[in-house]
Symmetry: C2
Subunit: 305 residues, 2 copies
């Protein structure tokens, strides 16, 4: 089934203990669509860039089957830019610079060809933009998933609550889940968030794995213990893209299938951190992905007898 993704396509400049980059392709929607492209064939993108955005970068998305008809290239506009620097533990980072540029007044236009998309991924962006996209679809998708962050809780609380009422799945990290719910224990936080709209809550714990709360059930998937995390940028978006891409490819939104989605998403995220930016997502093979998924199976499999 088809997936529609809305979010940022951007320039990033990154610095980690392993080195630094110039402007490279980044943005939530970039990671999400690249990751999802390994699962679903119908991959529709709504985003905005300036005319400073290189054609070759758009071609990379197209090469992965991403439909870029909904990617607005604004004349005379500059692309959203973010630069960040990771601390030595790779778990914390400082934002060095943000230039909103064309994202400042992004008006998400959904081309008619996208209107029948069955899965909708609202990448991390202003809640008002996320809500607008839902409203502009003539038919409610089978499943709507939303990513957000603490910035929007601080600056757009009411809008966030409004859009939350309309989504099926939220993906969020542990600290953000605590901030959104006011609860410290993640079990309680998830239960509270479920009353705010999304019946399914995915809490990402980075190197400590991810928790999936669905009605009264809980599933936990570990992160793969890695020898080296080269650059964590985009890992959460890559996870989300693998998850919803897998669901879209199967059309199955049951709890059991969501578990598989979490494993596929985790596998994709484990690739993402191996190189700077999204580079590792450019040329993966099905065999590599299946091998990685088997490592997850082996990592947590046991038999009681």
């Amino acid at each position: 089934m088809s997936l529609l993704t809305v979010g940022s396509v951007a320039f990033d400049a990154l610095e980690t203990p392993f080195g630094k980059t110039d402007k490279i392709i980044g943005g939530a929607a970039t990671y999400i669509t690249l990751s999802a492209s390994y699962f679903t064939k119908e991959n529709n993108l709504v985003a905005v860039v300036g005319d400073d955005f290189p054609r070759e970068m758009i071609d990379i998305l197209k090469d992965h089957g991403v439909n870029t008809d909904g990617l607005e290239v604004r004349r005379g506009g500059k692309t959203f830019f973010w630069s960040g620097k990771y601390h030595n533990d790779m778990n914390t980072r400082d934002t060095v610079e943000v230039q909103l540029n064309v994202m400042a007044d992004f008006d998400p236009v959904v081309p008619p060809a996208y209107h029948q998309s069955e899965f909708l991924m609202l990448g991390n962006t202003a809640p008002s933009i996320q809500k607008t996209v839902i409203e502009r679809l003539p038919r409610r998708p089978k499943l709507i998933m939303l990513d957000t962050m603490n910035f929007w809780m601080d600056s757009a609380w009411d809008d966030l609550l409004e859009v939350l009422k309309r989504v099926d799945v939220i993906t969020i990290n542990d600290e953000e889940a605590r901030q959104l719910s006011g609860e410290y224990a993640l079990v309680k936080a998830a239960a509270k968030i479920q009353t705010m709209g999304p019946k399914t809550v995915i809490i990402k714990k980075g190197e400590h794995g991810a928790l999936l709360f669905h009605a009264d059930s809980i599933f936990f998937a570990p992160a793969l213990p890695l020898e080296e995390v080269f650059d964590p940028t985009g890992a959460g978006d890559t996870f989300a893209g693998g998850f919803i891409g897998y669901l879209a490819s199967t059309g199955d939104v049951s709890f059991n299938n969501m578990k598989r989605g979490i494993i596929y998403g985790s596998a994709m995220a484990s690739f993402c951190v191996e190189k700077f930016g999204a580079e590792r997502l450019f040329n993966l093979t099905t065999e590599e992905i299946n091998d990685r998924v088997l490592k997850f199976v082996q990592l947590s499999a046991f038999e009681l007898q």
Copy 2:
């Protein structure tokens, strides 16, 4: 098979956001033997207390089938005392007071009836004491497991390296594994520690679960997401006791059985944190333990197809 445990039996005074206690029974060996008692019938204890230690507390151990012939009650001596206060996140704590008392010159005497113990658990105590116990056993046990902490890395590094050469399994938390190995990534830390002696390395990550490294294989077990952690004291020792108690009860030290041991240990630890001190370990039923283990199975089970 029989298990010999060496470590502290102590008084603790605890303060958590949920309340505080007077002097209650504590100490690594207390938690280990109580937890192990639900699995192995031959549970031998070597420890020392003062004559201020209440008879009823020793009776609790005896009621759980723990052989206390090796528990020295020193005349005129005072029992080891520790008091601590947990921060609001329950993950960090301050030591308020430590009185070594009879632990200051503890000379671990191993009664002849213990000499054929097949499993040896060296609870967290001075590496020199741990080494002495190994030397005083006429026959090397089938499996020797050691727990330690950063305090001994700072104060008894050479002794620690010496005893590490002689053990099969080390259990340690993530920060301690990093300190012991000088490596940040846990995969690298475990590999380094394996060269120091123990072929099996268990890294405890508290609420984030535990990793088992055995030769080239890795197994990950989650911690159960809990609504309330009432008091984390002793959770690591309870985990260790459940793990080695399960191994001793089966006599099987294969990787597959160690995985099961990790699950049983994690289940026991999840009980421990539900009440102050070791109280929750006093009256568990087999049914409660099996139900809890099933929750672990459900938490991480998935099928790829």
